[in-house]
Symmetry: C2
Subunit: 344 residues, 2 copies
């Protein structure tokens, strides 16, 4: 039998909607913090099959979400291509600032071997998960991964990346092509290992002008979707072009993804008008409303459920769960959604 | 005779469009850096009428924009209400983190006196500017100013501010009311001193969920527009809800502003469909395209001009000019726009 999350991602509405939460495996959970302490550094946690599997399963065991998202990181992809990566405590990821020479050194032949522990984690999760929830694999979208590589880490405005796109379009296109092909390879391997749906996180899609958005966000997503559809027609792809705003419709049309993630700022009713059915929509409770809990959260949940009733909708947050979130609020949220007839 | 910029802001199309640039007075200009060194700290520069006037006029004298925007800062408003403010070199503004008690201590009776040097700067600018360009006054929108106060400075995700809005709606509403009234007072004083148009900068509008966006972005803008329209019906108000995305239409409709600013990520043609004429549109060249210059900039300029031809459009950037921008690129941009028949 098709799992509920997968059916909805393929375009069949379901009520109440299936639910999972971005960053549901993470620091707000005491059992995650214990696991993290045991693993040592973050990359070791991502590349220890047993520990990554345990982190993935923790929230599903505690709260019973419909989806389990692989515990990993979008920067595992450049790391697997041989690009330096480390995580400094409290500072986020640190990478070399990309040079033109670095692009030539990226090595796709390393990818499958480097991803082996991640693929083993996926196999373990599928075994342990059974029919309880669907397993979601993922990758950073090429533009967002390029941002981290060009800036050498996080950035407020990604000026270096956009300047490279305007000034050195040849280099930037070469980088985007390598990352797009590596993303197709990584997601294909994840599906073969057991992922039942895959998601593309394009966290920085919203900083681009409309012409660059088409070229570096929507078109790479289209290439990835086409390549996966040819090999794995039954596996849905969720695209999440964060802060795409009014370009959500353009993204859905060009990319052909099966489901579109909505960020916190997106009006679900408007998104539903921009993105025609049967494309599914995913989102978009404000993580701060989940942090706050209580009446404010209840009202926001009711608003989102009401706006999307009748559409193929996967309930989720509009951005990752905040580390300060009380786990009790997550339990409350799942209850709210599952007795949704009372609120919407 | 009505200045071209003002006529367009009131809804009359003009070709080629009038142009000014956000942060056109600033660090990319050597003459500004010399002035800044002379003034000492940043608040002294904003509150020395002669120096603030000179900073305002520098780019207009060098490049001949159609608009001169008052050299000031959105945080001069809370400062004028008695709220602590300092600028640390390279770190941006530092303020106390707002407490409930602080709200009661904000003192609107200080406002007019504290703003006196700013109003004197406006009078000086008008005298020196003559018919060359129109003078634009401005304020931070209440939500964005509240963000800086609650967070104690800049922030990546403004979790404290949004958590306050969800958890302590009474306190947050009180803060928003005080800031909205102070904004009306400040903009009214600026208009009386000589500002020919005014602009509301809501830099963080895009982080809110749609329901909070209506309440804390669109409705305060509507109150400000209504109050100004009653006293100064001929003075246009530009609203800039940055990253509002698909909510731009909602903002235009609820607020009733005369012109809507488009950020870099906004598709001008789509914005034109969301925001009906005669409301003017302002924007939105990517500041990174201006930094890069050359063919990439020319193509982006042509795209924007072409998309908005026939609409009341004020050419501008989608975000503030970057400090690394070569002044020669600004001169080139103004030439491109003014011989626009060649590019669009």
């Amino acid at each position: 039998m098709t799992k509920k999350l997968i059916a909805v991602l393929r375009g069949e509405p379901s009520w109440p909607p299936p639910v999972w939460l971005m960053r549901q495996a993470g620091r707000y959970l005491p059992e995650y913090r214990a696991l993290r302490a045991k693993a040592g550094d973050f990359i070791s946690l991502c590349t220890s099959p047993d520990l990554a599997a345990e982190a993935t399963l923790q929230p599903v065991q505690r709260f019973g979400m419909d989806g389990a998202i692989l515990f990993s990181d979008i920067l595992i992809l450049p790391w697997a291509l041989g690009y330096g990566l480390r995580f400094a405590e409290g500072e986020g990821p640190i990478l070399p600032r990309l040079t033109s020479q670095d692009i030539a050194r990226l090595d796709p032949t390393r990818l499958e071997r480097a991803l082996q522990p991640v693929l083993e984690a996926i196999a373990l999760i599928r075994l342990r998960l059974g029919d309880q929830a669907a397993l979601i694999g993922f990758a950073g979208a090429p533009f967002t991964v390029a941002c981290y590589m060009v800036e050498g880490g996080g950035s407020k405005d990604h000026v270096l990346t956009r300047a490279m796109a305007y000034r050195s379009p040849h280099d930037f296109d070469r980088l985007m092509t390598i990352l797009t092909e590596a993303t197709i390879a990584s997601l294909s391997l994840q599906i073969e290992a057991g992922a039942e749906a895959v998601m593309l996180f394009d966290s920085w899609a919203g900083i681009l002008s409309p012409s660059l958005f088409r070229r570096f966000v929507a078109l790479p997503a289209a290439r990835i979707k086409a390549a996966l559809a040819a090999r794995f027609p039954a596996i849905p792809l969720i695209g999440f072009p964060r802060l795409a705003g009014a370009l959500l419709g353009v993204y859905a049309e060009i990319s052909g993804v099966d489901a579109v993630g909505m960020d916190t700022a997106t009006d679900p009713a408007f998104a539903a008008s921009l993105v025609p059915a049967p494309t599914a929509l995913q989102g978009n409770l404000d993580p701060v409303a989940l942090l706050a809990g209580g009446a404010a959260m209840t009202a926001e949940v009711a608003r989102i459920l009401g706006a999307l009733r009748g559409r193929a909708h996967v309930f989720n947050l509009g951005h990752g769960i905040l580390p300060e979130t009380p786990p009790a609020h997550v339990a409350e949220l799942l209850q709210l959604i599952r007795r949704a007839d009372g609120v919407a």
